[in-house]
């Protein structure tokens, strides 16, 4: 593949998904796009990239972007963000949301394990919080991921990553060699295609936002833009969960970390009321 082709791919990926393709990513491109090249009838990845550059085929651009974005996820990934939700976020919000509705947005839900984990967790906590109703919106940029998330079908390998066996028995049924999550849980989540680079106002007001392991793929300016849009959507007493290796520090002051709660952020009310922030 030529440098010109790689540069074009990098530009396209940044524009379409925010993904920053670092230098020396030949191996990543080759391994992610070889299956796409095969499927789409190209002789090689180089041929695919050349076509991408000269033809500007919308469908091809979508499948290539899809394949280049990382969709790694599993049930109850990192555990801590779910423990914190149960021990701190849920008790706090259940006191202030009089009608019991708590709106949660999984901003990059990939194949659905994160929203389903939250739904299962809520099911377990039902006795403690009988009035609470989680309204979960799960979005992703990838059609392929959303389709899988909506089907609720997981491989044996996937249901064994992070999911306690008792929860699996309770919430899944075996369908041939796959496991399908219960219709009740599937119907409790709204899945929607959302690109975080777009205007996010249509997402609507949220009480909790999970945006884990997404910002690491963006450049500073994009991270800032996404976080600031999220701050406008989040209720003043809402919560933002980022990935374990992510932070808002040095990016924006619209959020501040919660003391002693790794990965958990709240809105910085002082910064919120400073209109000059918008000019920065």
């Amino acid at each position: 593949m030529t440098n010109e082709d790689i540069d074009h791919l990098a530009t396209m990926l940044k524009a379409r998904s925010g993904l920053i393709l670092g230098s020396d990513k030949t191996y990543l491109i080759e391994s992610r796009l070889a299956p796409v090249a095969r499927r789409e009838g190209f002789a090689s990845v180089s041929a695919l990239l050349a076509s991408l550059r000269t033809k500007r085929d919308e469908k091809l651009m979508t499948v290539v972007t899809d394949a280049m974005t990382t969709n790694e996820t599993f049930f109850f990934r990192d555990k801590v963000p779910f423990d914190q939700f149960k021990s701190d976020v849920l008790p706090a919000l259940s006191k202030t949301r009089m009608n019991g509705d708590i709106k949660i947005w999984c901003a990059a839900c990939s194949t659905g394990q994160e929203p389903y984990s939250l739904a299962m967790l809520m099911d377990e906590a039902r006795i403690q919080f009988p009035r609470v109703n989680l309204d979960i919106l799960a979005t992703d940029i990838s059609d392929r991921c959303l389709e899988k998330a909506q089907s609720g079908l997981y491989t044996q390998f996937e249901v064994q990553r992070g999911l306690p066996i008792t929860m699996m028995v309770k919430n899944f049924e075996k369908v041939d060699e796959m496991w399908r999550i219960s219709p009740k849980l599937r119907q409790s989540i709204r899945f929607k295609k959302v690109n975080l680079l777009d205007d996010l106002r249509m997402v609507g007001r949220q009480d909790v936002i999970y945006c884990r392991n997404v910002l690491i793929y963006f450049d500073l300016e994009t991270k800032k833009k996404v976080l600031e849009q999220m701050a406008t959507l989040l209720a003043d007493d809402g919560y933002l969960f980022l990935g374990a290796a992510e932070t808002v520090l040095g990016i924006t002051d619209v959020f501040k970390p919660m003391q002693g709660m790794r990965g958990l952020y709240v809105k910085n009310q002082v910064a919120q009321s400073t209109p000059l922030r918008k000019l920065a």
Partner: protein, 121 residues
């Protein structure tokens, strides 16, 4: 150091499990079937048992029922590790006192996650 008894009639599986468990700082003991495992437990109860279902002489579920009747036999944390992957088998294992259930094929990541789930690591 915690001990884990690996019960499986496949030498290859025992070897794979041993390598993973030793990396997780377990002392590993092996048994080829349920009866061997029961004798080993009567001598000294391990902290954990990784247990296959289908084995000659005595199968995993029979071993588990016998184990729970022994003196101190309620203590070991039992994790099934078997090709039986239907809800009926899983439910039966949990009813008889298994804490977790691994469906073969498995890898180090799954074993570690399951052991962590039940507080062994």
């Amino acid at each position: 150091m915690k001990t884990c008894l690996v019960v499986d009639d496949s030498r290859v599986i025992r070897k794979v499990a041993r390598r993973i468990l030793e990396n997780l700082q377990f002392e590993v003991i092996e048994a080829n079937d349920g009866l061997e495992a029961l004798n080993s437990c009567k001598e000294k109860m391990p902290s954990a048992i990784l247990l296959d279902w289908n084995m000659p002489v005595m199968d995993g579920i029979t071993f588990l029922r016998q184990l729970r009747k022994e003196d101190g036999g309620k203590a070991p944390v039992v994790v099934f590790c078997t090709t039986e992957n239907d809800l009926a088998h899983i439910t039966e294992a949990l009813t008889e006192g298994a804490s977790e259930y691994i469906m073969k094929p498995f890898d180090g990541e799954i074993l570690e996650a399951k052991f962590s789930e039940v507080g062994l690591i």
